[in-house]
Symmetry: C2
Subunit: 622 residues, 2 copies
């Protein structure tokens, strides 16, 4: 333990690990995998103009609140997609709809993006992500890569543990990182064990309506819940959560949450819980259907796990779940089948808070302990039965055989990896070609931008027997997991269709108009190359004139139905900017609280006369 | 004209231009330039782990309000530096100091970054940028890549035209994109020609105090001013601005600002204006020293330029300035020397608004008209007398000889370039190896992210006789110019030194404390691996307890003086997050307006026990 703690934050440890250079064996040409191995590193990651990357890397943006889209293998940053934080470049959080959706928050802590799945593999429809800081969950529609719904979840303290979906996206399970007062919102920390709970939420998403709902919540013991994973195939009705601070410490967790030799995995049968809820087996609590595990006669169990486990991952065949004590050197493989047997046999070693504890030895399949490896965190998979686990402290990725536990290869990363991701690596069908390690530090890897460094990503070719390091890429703060999905799975559109049912939309210049109702002015406008039209009948059709104090509702429809012709509308000194994508109608609402003459201009370069695409907001003084 | 207008926004035109593939001739090995040419494209842009990019590309982020830092030649996005828009990943705009600096604005339109210069070349000290939307200018200290000052400039309507510095950073000239009411803030657009002015500002920056000031302003005619450039060497006392809408149209500029065959370049002697100001030759206007050009007997002149010029650039030897009518096919080279002669000889072809117009034929050195090239915008230079001009409509970069006007090469870009940049390309010492074209469209160049596409950048090797296309890179919205500076010029530090003079800073755990003064609570805290200490003497040193309605001032010093160990402090549901870089002290201020128990946690991954680096904000109800 002393050894481990002394290594914490000591990047140096990672540097001691052997540097395995370009380990891929060179095979004859033939399969795509072999082709990859025949290329030099430079060639392997180079995507010339006219070709596309093979995979999307959809990267959590952590406390930036956003998603980062990269291409693999080039590792080019393609786009930042705003989710929990306003984004003036697109007007997200500025236009009426997205502003209301954000609910006044100007940041989020986006963890653990999860793609929707059908039959256990990515279906390319939606991406989900949670906001640890403000207890929200969001859905991004992958047809236009825009955030379409956001819900604030009550009774929880940080859905750190991600939104990993069940095999057909029936549920997303959101455990809570912090336990919070349960009945009395002001319960003292002195009464933590009695009056706090760690509430897990079972969330549904209606793909037609594009709306979240809370199916039920579970009032788990007052611990910290870290990561979640859903079962697959044989384990499809089950899900698992890792826990820490089962010591129930309320201060100085650095020491006090690391006392017990074992924390737990929570293992639960979501399909049975769903049935119980349908049968009315819940209590309403703070507006939600709440299940109390101590009242159940099954369906929720604890499995002892090594000290302070962090990551928890289910193998592609659904037979095993793997977790690792981040303060222990070993990964532990647990068998779902053995767990089911233990449940059947009531093979319990005790209980905590009324929840039966399955006997460790009965459920554990294997402990994997690579010599000198420290700080195992997360595990991903390939299509050949191998697992890849990040080691935060020893700064490496370890490749090992799930079936035997044999360590097959190790490769340094630069430096201190948190998550890692392989292509389709958490599905029933991993692709087994690329692996990206998401590293918490970059030190002096890149041109220095001062004391606040980027994080970093290492791309590996994993088609060979050994990991082959292809490239190193900086990344903005701060990835927590990613999804790597094949380009063929994602099918976005590029132009919004005319929507005659939208009363805000204007597709005919003669329909542009400025309407006044008391002190509420509503504008039905058009943006098009290369002008704004707010009232085509006016002498100055690109001028909006209102009175100081008016409420102004400005609808604008982009009448350019051409790919990539996005307009932006900015109003000087009014802190307003929003894009209208091709064919799209957007609305902004503001109070004209400053009198004067304020230029309006197109902020999204749209044509050679973009600079001339202007107008004025005239606010007459009171 | 019809032809040009029909091509506007028609990307297709760009595609018709001959695709010159990999035109670089292969020379024998030897110089760095020749080495570059010997490499394949993939090898030329590949920077392996352990090596650094050769250049920083400091890219304007347009209406994102931020700066994007890339490395050249890898074109990896290293970091986004927040300037005009809050950034929760770093806490910029959340902590007290930066929040006050942003002045309530949550976006900006960052155009035209400009590096500080000494003797006409980059000195690596500061970067300046303007906010077109909200009339601000900002300085970024390149020792830590953080925004250190921001000033709102009165009397102007969009400093689009950038902050290009004089040879020794004496001044930054901010022309105004929109003319605004001058005396009566509510003057009607009907009185535009009489009552509006386009005010140019001469800004100084005190590098010791890190503070902007306004030296003087010039009340130019009511036109739109587009870009600025400062003279060099022989022209060092002069600067030039491009203009459009000298038609003084107030609506439908798409048509009405394109009527006249000639707009103007404003040519002025800033050193003489400085002297005039010193001599009291100004009037105070709205708090600023205002110069009226119609009252002068010199020092400000107009030079006729082709229809609606956009870019304006000065050659490295300072002898010429080049501007191009964006609706004309030609670039025009003007001679400073000839302009000085014309001034000496009073060789005027007339005047506008009391400003003498130099005779076009007397000042013009050469018109350069590459056949079929359309939409010339911006020009950069190499070290061999060549100029490179972007053609927005014909989607290409044209290489031409400044001395002869001979067109030497043309290469398609993908698609529709606005600015371009070469290494040190606007200094007296361009490097002549890399060129990046900043393109307004990307169409289907990259994996699709829906209807809102990234913009794009093409990297060229310009060491050979012809432009050689090396790579294509997506970029977030929306670059307007960039600076490409050699890595040796930039020398950031990595850890903040102890600052015993800072009364907020706490370097000793025993100095942590929570002080109450009425309903104002001040906390002097520490962040360190892996805990927060707000009051080390408390039973729960990581807990802050206040009363509902209290004003809370929270100072936190990062006590880890190790490179790359940044901590973040987030407070759940309080919309608060801010980073503390190694050794740095930051302050956040908020009103505890919600009662309850709110987890505090470290948001910047810092150690294996990062997850345990937590605490609570307890807000007792009223």
């Amino acid at each position: 333990m002393t050894k481990i703690l002394s290594g914490i934050g000591g990047i140096a440890v990672g540097l001691l690990v052997t540097f395995v250079l370009f380990g891929g064996s060179l095979l004859g040409a033939g399969s795509a995998e072999q082709d990859l191995q025949l290329k030099s590193n430079a060639e392997a990651v180079y995507v010339p103009h006219g070709e596309h990357d093979e995979y999307y890397l959809i990267n959590s943006g952590g406390h930036s609140g956003q998603l980062f889209i990269y291409g693999v293998p080039s590792m080019r940053h393609i786009r930042t997609i705003p989710v929990f934080t306003p984004d003036p470049a697109t007007g997200y959080g500025f236009d009426k709809e997205s502003k209301e959706m954000l609910g006044g928050y100007t940041w989020g802590d986006l963890h653990h993006p999860a793609l929707s799945e059908t039959n256990g593999d990515y279906d390319g429809k939606f991406l989900f992500a949670t906001d640890v800081a403000n207890n929200r969950i969001a859905a991004i529609d992958l047809q236009d890569f825009h955030t379409v719904d956001m819900m604030k979840v009550p009774n929880i303290g940080g859905p750190h543990c991600a939104a990993f979906v069940t095999e057909n996206t029936e549920y997303l399970f959101l455990p809570t990182r912090f336990s919070l007062p349960f009945d009395d919102p002001h319960a003292s920390l002195d009464d933590f064990s009695e009056k706090y709970r760690g509430v897990m939420s079972a969330i549904t998403f209606d793909q037609e309506e594009k709306k979240f709902d809370i199916a039920y919540q579970v009032a788990l013991p007052p611990w910290s819940y870290d990561k979640a994973a859903s079962g697959k195939l044989v384990s499809r009705d089950w899900a698992v959560l890792s826990t820490y601070n089962t010591e129930e410490a309320t201060t100085n967790l650095e020491i006090k949450a690391s006392q017990a030799d074992r924390d737990y995995v929570v293992l639960f049968n979501w399909r049975n819980l769903e049935e119980r809820v349908a049968n009315g087996e819940y209590e309403m609590h703070n507006g939600e259907r709440m299940i109390f595990p101590e009242n159940l006669d099954g369906d929720i169990y604890l499995v002892p796990a090594a000290k302070s486990p962090h990551g928890i991952d289910v193998t592609p065949d659904g037979k095993y779940f793997i977790t690792s004590g981040k303060l222990a050197p070993a990964m532990t493989v647990f068998s779902f089948e053995k767990a089911f047997e233990a449940i059947e046999n009531q093979d319990f070693s005790g209980e905590r808070n009324g929840i039966p504890i399955l006997t460790y030895e009965s459920v554990m399949e294997r402990e994997v302990d690579p010599p000198g490896a420290l700080g195992p965190l997360h595990t991903q998979f390939d299509d050949r039965g191998n697992a890849y686990t990040t080691m935060f402290i020893s700064s490496e990725v370890v490749k090992w055989d799930v079936a035997t536990g044999e360590v097959l290869d190790r490769h340094s990363v630069y430096y201190s990896p948190g998550h890692l991701v392989t292509a389709h690596g958490d599905t029933v069908n991993p692709h087994g070609n690329y692996l990206v390690s998401l590293n918490k530090f970059s030190l002096n890897n890149y041109l220095s931008v001062g004391p606040s460094h980027p994080e970093s990503m290492d791309l590996f070719d994993i088609t060979g027997d050994t990991l082959r390091h292809l490239s190193s890429t900086p990344v903005n703060l701060e990835p927590h997991y990613a999804q790597m999905v094949h380009r063929d799975v994602i099918n976005p559109f590029h132009v919004y269709e005319r929507d005659e049912s939208d009363p805000r939309a204007v597709y005919d210049q003669s329909d542009t108009r400025i309407e006044r109702d008391g002190d509420h002015v509503t504008i039905y406008g058009i943006s098009m190359r290369s002008k704004f039209l707010f009232d085509a009948t006016s002498e100055r059709p690109d001028v909006i004139e209102v009175n100081e104090g008016d409420l102004v509702t400005l609808h604008v429809t982009n009448n350019d139905f051409d790919q990539d012709i996005t307009h932006g509308l900015g109003i000087m000194d009014y802190n307003i900017n929003f894009e209208q994508m091709p064919g799209q109608t957007k609305t902004i609402e503001f109070v004209a609280d400053k009198a004067g003459v304020f230029p309006i201009y197109c902020t999204n370069f749209c044509s050679a006369l973009h600079q001339e695409m202007t107008g004025y907001l005239i606010v007459n003084p009171k």
